[in-house]
């Protein structure tokens, strides 16, 4: 899977948000707020280009002190939400 083109991660008043900056997302009228972990996942998703749930889970395990089931659960639910609103595609 990969991040859909046309979105940008920004910081607003110290919080992470994703806004639709690209012309391909002209009809995307939402602003998505992210917690620290979600912002990290998004950044990895963009850095990796094309990647799997496992790649993202491994990245989390390297960065944060969490166990594997928690990390993989967190990645799976975040990616699932993003797919639903059109931020991520297969």
């Amino acid at each position: 899977m990969k991040a859909v083109k046309g979105f940008k991660l920004r910081t607003l008043l110290g919080e992470h948000i994703i806004v639709a900056d690209g012309p391909s997302q002209i009809n995307f009228n939402k602003i998505v707020m992210l917690n620290e972990t979600a912002a990290f996942i998004w950044q990895k998703l963009v850095d990796f280009g094309e990647c799997s749930l496992k790649d993202l889970t491994d990245a989390i395990l390297e960065e944060y002190e969490v166990d594997e089931p928690t990390a993989s659960q967190s990645v799976a639910s975040t990616i699932d939400q993003w797919k639903q609103i059109g931020l991520v595609e297969d």
Partner: protein, 294 residues
């Protein structure tokens, strides 16, 4: 003929060949005319021909709505090309090319009837793009002044911005219309937020060269009742984001606009008004907005 104008403190020049019918159609710009442009941030020239390069790439194409002007933005090498029609399905009214920095534009009008429409849109685009990095926003809003402060109504076209302004003019004493479609909001060097009238005001001829401190931004939303509520900072950001001209896809412009939105969100009261098009709506909004303390 070259005329100079000053809008929201920014000077620009417009050159039109003598004898071109546009020379006699610029009355909406007259309140903003200055003798000499010493610090012009851009100049636009009406010319006979603007090339339509074969290699142009679409970077933005507006929605094809028969009720709305159609705009298309292209890039050709370093140059930007901008085409506009009064609405989709109609022939092009004008084509403009601009340098990368939006300091020089050349406009060809393609129909006599659409010439002023074309020039207006070309100037609005140059203004919005050129001033994006200058803490300046060209906004899609109707603005009422009351008690020395400017109150902006924001919403998509056709929701009821102008209608709400009319309700204030009729029912709330001391109200004046500053602009009905494209006011300019600027964070001044001293940090104050000022709202300026402009030569662009949609279908309502209201071209006032005046400015007032910002009172509040209010999103208008149709409802079956009247209620006004404060927006969170994030909701306010989303409101300003969707109500401002400028081209967020361009990285430099996107960053500059983001910085301006962030400052405004911290400085300015932002609301949403759920409303009917009736007198009570103006009573409800004015009761809250006119009692905001500095």
């Amino acid at each position: 003929m070259t005329n100079y104008y000053k809008v929201a403190g920014h000077e620009f020049g417009v050159s039109i060949p003598d004898g071109n019918p546009l020379c006699g159609q610029l009355s909406q710009y007259e309140p903003f005319r200055i003798e000499k442009g010493e610090n012009c941030i851009f100049e636009v020239e009406v010319v006979d021909k603007v090339d339509d390069p074969a290699d142009k790439e679409v970077v933005y194409a507006g929605p094809e709505d028969p009720e709305q002007p159609l705009v298309k933005l292209y890039k050709s090498g370093e140059k930007w090309i901008y085409e506009m029609a009064v609405c989709s399905g109609r022939p092009l009214a004008a084509r403009m090319e601009s340098n990368a920095a939006f300091t020089r534009g050349r406009v060809e009008t393609l129909s006599e009837k659409g010439a002023l429409f074309g020039l207006n849109n070309a100037l609005m685009l140059m203004f919005a793009f050129r001033t994006a990095g200058m803490n300046t926003l060209e906004m899609h809003a109707s603005v009422i002044v009351n008690g020395g402060k400017a109150f902006l109504w924001l919403a998509a076209s056709g929701t009821g911005k102008s209608t709400h302004s009319k309700l204030w003019l009729k029912h709330i004493p001391g109200s004046r219309l500053l602009n009905d479609d494209n006011p300019i909001v600027r964070i001044m060097d001293d940090g104050c937020v000022e709202v300026f009238g402009s030569p662009w005001s949609g279908k309502t001829p209201c071209y006032r060269n005046e400015h007032y401190p910002l009172g509040a931004f209010t999103r208008i939303r149709r409802a079956s009742f009247n209620k006004i509520s404060r927006l969170s900072n994030f909701e306010a950001y989303a409101l300003l984001y969707s109500s401002s001209s400028g081209f967020k896809t361009d990285p430099a412009m996107g960053d500059a606009l983001h910085a301006t939105f962030e400052q405004l969100v911290m400085k300015c009261p932002c609301y949403v008004l759920d409303c009917l098009p009736d007198e009570e709506a103006a009573r409800v909004s004015s009761a809250e907005l006119l009692s905001i303390k500095d």
